[in-house]
Amino acid sequence: MKAAAFRYHRATSLDDALAVMADDDEEVRALAGGQSLVPLMAMRLSRPEVLVDLNGVDALAGVALDGGHLRIGAMTRQRDVERSPLVAEHLPLLRTAIGHIGHVTIRHRGTIGGSVAHADPAAELPAAVVALGAEMVLASTGGTRVVPAEEFFDSYLVTAVEPGELLVEVRFPLGAVPARHGMAEFTRRAGDFAVAGAIVLADVAADLTVRRARVVPMAVDPAPRRSARAEELLVGRALDDGVIREVAAAVAAGCGPVDDIHGSAAYRRDLVAEMTRRALARLRQGAGE
């Protein structure tokens, strides 16, 4: 398990990184935390010719409040996001979601941008950024563009990032999505990727009437997507057990899981319903007080 040979470039600035990324004669890949890329390289399932190490580009790391957005640099370590007071205050879901990623040692190096760009459908952060209505800021030597999270994820490990582009920032509009969150996932062991999971956001009135809602199932579609049907079923109704069951069933009916060694599609469908139910129950806890 030794990686195939590649050229290593330690980027000193974003421009420097983008200049190397722009080379379209060779397969160039960005190296962030390496927690997904390096195993793939060790197994020779990924064999870039040039590796652009972003770890030295300080400008890509950090959490900042900027007008109506919380901006998180792509190279911000998952552990730093998890511990950021700004995130705790404005995006508690992110903190919860990151708490489910692997183990502390993984989160020390793994970055928010790396996880989002890697786009594993069982991963927490891709689902979380969809739920939170985040915007992905992509840069290339040709300029910068912004892609909404909902349009960012195409399918298993495939995103809107074009060759030559880097994800530089994940931008979270504040107040645009409901504040309260609930999350649940089922794993085979502590720290494993989810067999199925769900993230819900909702604004709930004192009488438990749901005003706004966002529901994102995990590990049951090729890419994280909101469940429109589930959201429709929630809005305007009181979050009682019957509604929760209905919503859970809608999520299960609307997703497209596949069989793998950790569970069949049918089982995953049942599991995602249960995880949706638990996520909503958690969200409801303390709501309406």
């Binding site: 290593y8 390096v38 502390v104 040692t105 020390h108 190096r109």
Partner: protein
């Protein structure tokens, strides 16, 4: 394929500055083992899951099999070899031995690095917290029971001292 250029890397390993050349594709784990002669970095999986290769990299734990050696240029690295103070074992090393928290010892360096970080964070430790904290490390021999005991014993001794 081979004709790739050697890269010079300079890092502080267990307090000593080390300069070595390597191929870009060499993992930091391999470089530490083969170029820096720190053989306590063990390879149990080379894909980031077992934790045997855990080191402290610029102040926090990291899996050295998931980094390439050139990334270590300028870094401050501590491995299990850097825990003891001369001939005096680190309290965790002492406790692991006393509580029989190691059998083959292949996983032990990784557990020690993670446990050290956990203790340094200073929070109150319960069995549950310790188990969660070490759950990224695999031990095939001990069943974890005595590893948990050893870490809790050091934590208890520390809090005992703090109260004095």
């Amino acid at each position: 394929m081979s004709g790739e250029t050697a890269i010079t890397v300079s890092a502080t390993v267990n307090g000593r500055r080390q300069t070595f050349t390597c191929e870009a594709r060499e993992t930091l784990a391999d470089a530490l083992r083969r170029r820096c002669q720190v053989r306590g970095v063990h390879l149990g999986c080379e894909h980031g899951v077992c934790g045997a290769c855990t080191i402290r990299f610029d102040g926090v734990t990291a899996r050295s099999c998931l980094m390439f050696a050139p990334q270590a240029d300028g870094a401050e690295i501590v491995t299990v070899e850097g825990l003891a103070d001369g001939d005096e074992l680190h309290p965790l090393q002492e406790a692991f031995s006393r509580h029989h928290a190691l059998q083959c010892g292949f996983c032990t360096p990784g557990f020690l690095m993670v446990a050290q970080e956990l203790l340094a964070e200073g929070g109150p430790l319960t069995e549950e917290v310790v188990r969660e904290a070490i759950s990224g490390n695999i031990c095939r021999c001990t069943g974890y029971h005595n590893i948990v005991e050893a870490i809790l014993a050091v934590a208890d001794a520390r809090s005992g001292e703090a109260e004095k």
